[in-house]
């Protein structure tokens, strides 16, 4: 029983991270119908920015004096950096292709993904880069269950970001404009919403969430690698599809399910550990085959499925 609860906590932590990344996919897909392959790399860049800023702050003594401030500052700076990166990618690789075929944009996205991954490798090295971990130790013990401060931090930050995103999308003017653009680009342009601006903002928001996920994964596992964005990227996309692509609540639910399934499979199935990466793909394929609209999706027109 304790083992199960422990796994549920682990699953929630991982699922929260997937949910954050999945939101970026789902928002971009909702607005320009593109699988943004480079999103996984934005996530990795967030992880690297975390290590860069945290190391810098540690060396300058900020982390010892005010660890909370240092973490928050690193998080915000990484998010800002990734937002800038994602907007640049959008302007360079996707915007000029608005009118071309979907295959072209998809290939361009794939190219950007390879480009960014290798850019990270060239500037940051091929090997794992370790996070400064002095402030991530410790946790609460409830009998045999151990919940580390890191897990609590991840869950708290994830929850905070999800609430903030919900507020942004459903309570503000900008959110309304985003939803309008996702629904009908021509009509929303007619009422004076600049599609280009909305698309930029969407990429920036998605990148902020991915950056937060990247930095938390880095802190949780203690290191980052230049190709760390690839597999989580696909899993997060699977989560977005599972929840119904284009649907923000769906992406959150989908992320939690994928994270939970992965942890449970690794914990309870024979050989589950080795094959844990397979489950997300299997879920993705099964969902697309049996219910292409996902859990919360609306009707999907036939160009998508």
């Amino acid at each position: 029983m304790e083992y199960l609860i422990q796994q549920v906590v682990n699953g929630l932590t991982l699922g929260g991270v997937y949910a954050l990344v999945a939101l970026g996919y789902t928002m971009v897909y909702g607005i320009i119908q593109l699988i943004n392959f480079a999103h996984g790399e934005i996530f990795a860049a967030g992880g690297y920015m975390g290590v860069i800023f945290l190391s810098f702050l540690t060396a300058n003594g900020v982390m010892d004096a005010h660890p909370g401030l240092g973490l928050g500052l690193s998080l915000l700076l990484s998010m800002g950096y990734c937002a800038m990166l994602a907007m640049a990618v959008e302007k360079v690789a996707y915007k000029p292709l608005r009118q071309s075929s979907r295959l072209s944009v998809l290939l361009s996205a794939l190219g950007m993904s390879i480009f960014l991954q290798n850019g990270l490798m060239l500037t940051q090295g091929v090997y794992d880069k370790a996070y400064p971990t002095e402030f991530t130790h410790g946790g609460f013990d409830f009998g045999a269950i151990r919940i580390s401060y890191m897990q609590i931090g991840i869950l708290a930050v994830t929850a905070l970001l999800l609430v903030a995103l919900n507020a942004l999308v459903f309570r503000t003017r900008m959110g309304k404009a985003m939803r309008a653009t996702a629904q009908d680009k021509v009509m929303s342009a007619l009422v004076g919403i600049s599609a280009n601006r909305i698309i930029s903002v969407t990429f920036a928001i998605g990148a902020c969430l991915a950056a937060a996920a990247g930095i938390m994964v880095g802190l949780y596992y203690g290191s980052v690698r230049y190709d760390m964005g690839f597999v989580p990227g696909i899993k997060a996309f699977a989560a977005a599809v599972l929840g119904g692509i284009g649907n923000i609540t769906g992406a959150m639910v989908g992320g939690l399910i994928i994270g939970m399934v992965e942890i449970m499979a690794a914990a309870y199935l024979p050989m589950g550990g080795q094959y844990k990466d397979v489950f997300a793909f299997v879920i993705l394929i099964a969902v697309l085959y049996f219910m292409p609209t996902g859990i919360m999706g609306e009707n999907v027109d036939d160009t998508r499925v």
Binding site: Y81, R102, L107, S108, G111, G119, V241, I285, D302, V305
Partner: protein, 407 residues
């Protein structure tokens, strides 16, 4: 503000943006200091290159280069007319002679590169059937290469089956794998298909990596036999048969050359057959094709199977040449590279794909000292090609605009 100065302002803004993106990666040191020198050093090179491209673009827009471009275009048109007017064999015969004589006047290293190029020609043409002809974006293509390689490896190591017997078996296994992967995925279109095939490719790799009892996991399979050739020889006892192990690179070159020629001919015949036309109809507009009576599901499945066959053949050769296989060789990056060749050369164009393979395998060998930047350039080229020349270096003769591009 005029249009021109606005463009220059945007350019300046973009370069400033680039600097802001580069600097944190280079300039914020873990020892707690800030540095600018390295970033500026890289940045000004990129900025200069961008400046030259941008200036050239603006000038050509303004028509400054017309004096050179017009005659060049006329010249290219002339060459094209000559190429079209002369019979095809005038070009093919010297090319074939060159390909056959190649090992006699080259070094081992050059032969090695040529073998690599030809393997990728086979793979690229196989993927071209799926992506170029049928318009199904497959990001897990390398899985079929892996299936072919492992089929030959296992048959050779455990049962000692000869390479030549294994070739059709590998092709058949790959085709079956193509159908298995194709069947559940073909209901999807476009980008969903892409991500699902990517998932399948990864599943195949993970299974190869973990099925210890069959594939020996990440350690791979060693001791695969090279192809054999049995030749009759006259000895004092009369006619006898002698078996030569075709271990030498020289033999390998001819085997893969034969495979590549077979692939080119097969893909060409398919392309201009009823099947090829059906595929192209599906690529241009699936709904319309279905209305015209094309059994889209069957033909899409066939495209998958045929593409997989060529991948499987190339895989069998790969195993025979390396005499070792491991899951490491079948990663997503390989799929992306083959795809990059097809895209760079021209979707659906056979000479284009050959050109693409040549460019992406042989050119990096020439620029050996920039080896590190290879994948970076691949990614960049892929994105830039979509921008400036989406039909590829050598566009296919028949290529329409996809009709599901609205919006």
């Amino acid at each position: 503000m005029t249009r021109g100065s606005k463009a220059w302002l945007l350019f300046g803004l973009a370069m400033a943006w680039l600097f802001l993106l580069l600097w944190p990666l280079q300039g914020i040191r873990p020892d707690g200091t800030l540095a600018f020198a390295e970033t500026v050093d890289i940045w000004w090179k990129i900025a200069l290159a961008c400046l030259i491209c941008f200036a050239a673009f603006r000038l050509s827009r303004a028509g400054v280069f017309d004096f050179a471009v017009r005659p060049l275009a006329r010249l290219a048109g002339g060459v094209g007319r000559v190429y079209a007017a002369w019979p095809r064999w005038v070009f093919l015969v010297p090319l074939a002679a060159l390909a056959l004589a190649y090992p006699f006047f080259t070094e081992r290293y050059a032969q090695d590169v040529a073998v690599n190029v030809l393997v990728y020609v086979c793979l690229g043409l196989g993927l071209n059937v799926v992506v170029g002809l049928c318009g199904l974006l497959d990001l897990g293509y390398i899985a079929f290469y892996g299936v072919g390689a492992y089929t030959y490896a296992l048959l050779s190591v455990h049962y000692g089956v000869s390479f030549w017997l294994c070739l059709p078996v590998c092709a058949a296994f790959a085709a079956v794998a193509g159908c298995v992967i194709g069947y559940p995925t073909l209901r999807m279109r476009g980008d969903y298909l892409a991500i699902v095939t990517l998932g399948f490719g990864e599943i195949v790799r993970i299974v190869l990596n973990n099925w210890m009892s069959l594939t020996n996991g990440p350690n791979g399979i060693l001791g695969i036999a090279p192809p054999n050739l049995t030749v009759p020889v006259l000895s004092d006892g009369g006619l006898a048969f002698e078996t030569i192990a075709m271990r030498k690179l020289f033999w390998m070159y001819y085997i893969i050359l034969a495979l590549a020629v077979f692939t080119v001919v097969a893909v060409r015949r398919l392309n201009f057959s009823r099947i090829g036309r059906a595929w192209e109809a599906i690529r241009e507009d699936e709904t319309a094709a279905e209305l015209m009576g094309v059994d889209t599901f069957r033909f899409k499945l066939l495209a998958y199977a045929m593409g997989a066959v060529f991948g499987g053949l190339a895989g069998a050769f790969f195993a025979a040449r390396m005499r070792f296989v491991s899951p490491e060789s079948f990663t997503f990056i390989e799929s992306a590279m083959v795809l990059a060749m097809v895209v760079l050369g021209g979707l659906g164009s056979i000479p284009g794909v050959i050109l693409g393979a040549l460019a992406l395998v042989a050119l990096p060998e020439v620029f050996r000292q920039f080896e590190l930047y290879r994948m970076l350039v691949f990614g960049g080229v892929m994105a830039v090609m979509m921008l400036v020349r989406p039909a590829g270096l050598w566009p296919a003769a028949r290529l329409g605009k996809r009709s599901d591009d609205e919006g």
